[in-house]
């Protein structure tokens, strides 16, 4: 993935017009890490997350880029 399109670990919360099932049904190639009643945790490129926002399918909470996430989690390892 190009640096201009970093992969994020993010929480997706469907908008009122959407649903978790609808998000899962999209052909966006989401790497789904967690499914909750009202949200998903995914790894996805910025371009994909921006498209979800542009189409008002989900609000996106970007937690960390993939690299930041790995560094943070490995740092926590005692």
């Amino acid at each position: 993935m190009a640096e201009s399109d970093p992969t994020w670990i993010a929480r997706l919360t469907p908008t009122a017009d959407s649903s978790v099932a609808a998000l899962l049904g999209l052909p966006f190639g989401l790497d789904v890490w967690e499914r909750h009643g009202g949200s998903l945790v995914v790894a996805a490129p910025e371009s994909c997350l921006a498209e979800l926002e542009r189409r008002r399918l989900a609000t996106v909470e970007r937690w960390a880029t993939r690299e930041q996430y790995v560094a943070e989690m490995e740092r926590r390892d005692p």
């Binding site: 899962l24 967690e34 996430y69 490995e74 740092r75």
Partner: protein
């Protein structure tokens, strides 16, 4: 300005080391020895120390130090492809009367796929299989089945294990995707798929979408036909050598139950994954749901952790996964257990190594109950 780790010494009476520790330079002192001090400081601070008469030897940047140690800590305790092979060989050599290591196939990059057969071979017909690490980044899914094999062999002369190994066999294949696992250790910790080179330049097929039951019936994020996607199902069912190796093992040994470990989310999943509809056969559905709930209780009793029993599609829809295939084609109890942790914020796929042991401890009674259930089942339900 970069933070640096440095060793500071002094031979100058105008710059005694004792003064260094108490100096108001805002130094982050890590280690104080009679003849040197190790500290973290920026370039400006180190320049000041040199101007004061101290000798400064830069060891490494703080970032390098952190990544080195963090990675070392994260890797220690987990198997690599090589150490797993060593340990499986050791188990087989230490218990030659009941353990036998089988190469069940080779990965796309040519690495052997190992399965340990455990049992006395007294003409037994009952067999149960435990699989691990279809997905490369799920390191804990190697460790739990490996420890299960170790436990069975260490307890092979006392009941109930002895009885099980007399009446049946347990097969353990802890690492179905060694190429991907190696890639996570050396290149990309969050790699998921195998290392197939796809037409178009992307890499990897999701081994847990490549089995031949209802393969290709979905085209969604969680079972994708796009080669660059994380859940790429492959060009055809059983296109991947790792998956064919499992297929051939299952076809040859005719297991009476299959349990495949994954991570994370702490779930106990039973078929179907490809549809939200429940299994049609009510007896099978009752049996698998009941066993999943029993395993959920057994796991919770150990450390209080909750692993939720549910139909696989309640997590999300998947077509071509292992347990849909083993149940769909062979009709045997089939489960996917998603191991620790519960969430990404608890580490996600990067489970700290100090969690391996408690994770194994809590999964041990569930795994043993699965063995008991399958081997003591009144009759096989082979279709």
């Amino acid at each position: 300005m970069a933070n640096l780790i440095a060793r500071v010494t002094s031979t100058s009476p105008r710059a005694p080391l004792a003064r260094l520790v108490t100096s108001p330079l805002g130094l982050d002192v890590w280690e104080v020895r009679p003849d040197f001090v190790v500290l973290q400081a920026d370039e400006f601070q180190l320049g000041r120390l040199e101007a004061m008469g101290f000798a400064v030897e830069q060891l490494q940047t703080a970032e390098t130090h952190l990544s080195t140690f963090a990675t070392a800590a994260a890797v220690s305790g987990y198997h690599s492809v090589a150490t797993l092979e060593q340990d499986l060989r050791r188990l087989a050599e230490e218990h030659p009367e009941i353990a036998e290591l089988h190469e069940i196939g080779r990965s796309i990059e040519g690495r052997p796929l190992w399965a340990l057969r455990i049992g006395e071979r007294r003409g037994s017909t009952r067999r149960v299989a435990f699989l691990g690490c279809h997905h490369a980044r799920e390191w804990i899914s190697v460790e739990v089945p490996f420890r299960l094999a170790e436990h069975l062999l260490e307890n092979a002369s006392s009941d109930p294990v002895q009885g099980w190994l007399q009446q049946g066999e347990v097969w353990v294949a802890p690492m179905v995707n060694p190429d991907g696992h190696e890639h996570t250790r050396t290149q990309n910790r969050l790699w998921r798929k195998n290392r197939r080179r796809n037409p178009g330049g992307s890499i990897g097929v999701d081994p847990n979408r490549n089995y031949g039951y209802m393969w290709g019936t979905l085209d969604i994020s969680t079972s994708s036909r796009v080669p660059s996607d994380e859940t790429y199902i492959g060009p055809r069912a059983f296109s991947e050598p790792e998956v064919r190796a499992v297929r051939d093992l299952v076809a040859r040994e005719r297991f009476d139950g299959v349990l495949s470990y994954h991570s994370y989310s702490q779930l106990i999943l039973f078929p179907w994954g490809y549809t939200v509809e429940p299994i049609e056969d009510e007896a099978d559905h009752t049996e698998m749901r009941g066993l999943a709930e029993q395993m959920e209780r057994l796991i919770r009793e150990v450390h209080g952790e909750t692993y939720t029993a549910q139909q696989a599609s309640q997590l999300y829809l998947t077509a071509g996964d292992t347990t849909d295939w083993t149940y769909g084609v062979y009709g045997v109890p089939s489960f996917t257990i998603e191991l620790r942790p519960a969430s990404a914020l608890d580490g996600g796929f990067i489970l700290p190594a100090d969690q391996i042991e408690p994770c194994w401890q809590e999964n041990r009674p569930a795994a043993l109950e699965f063995i008991r259930h399958v081997l003591e089942r009144p009759e096989s339900s082979w279709i």
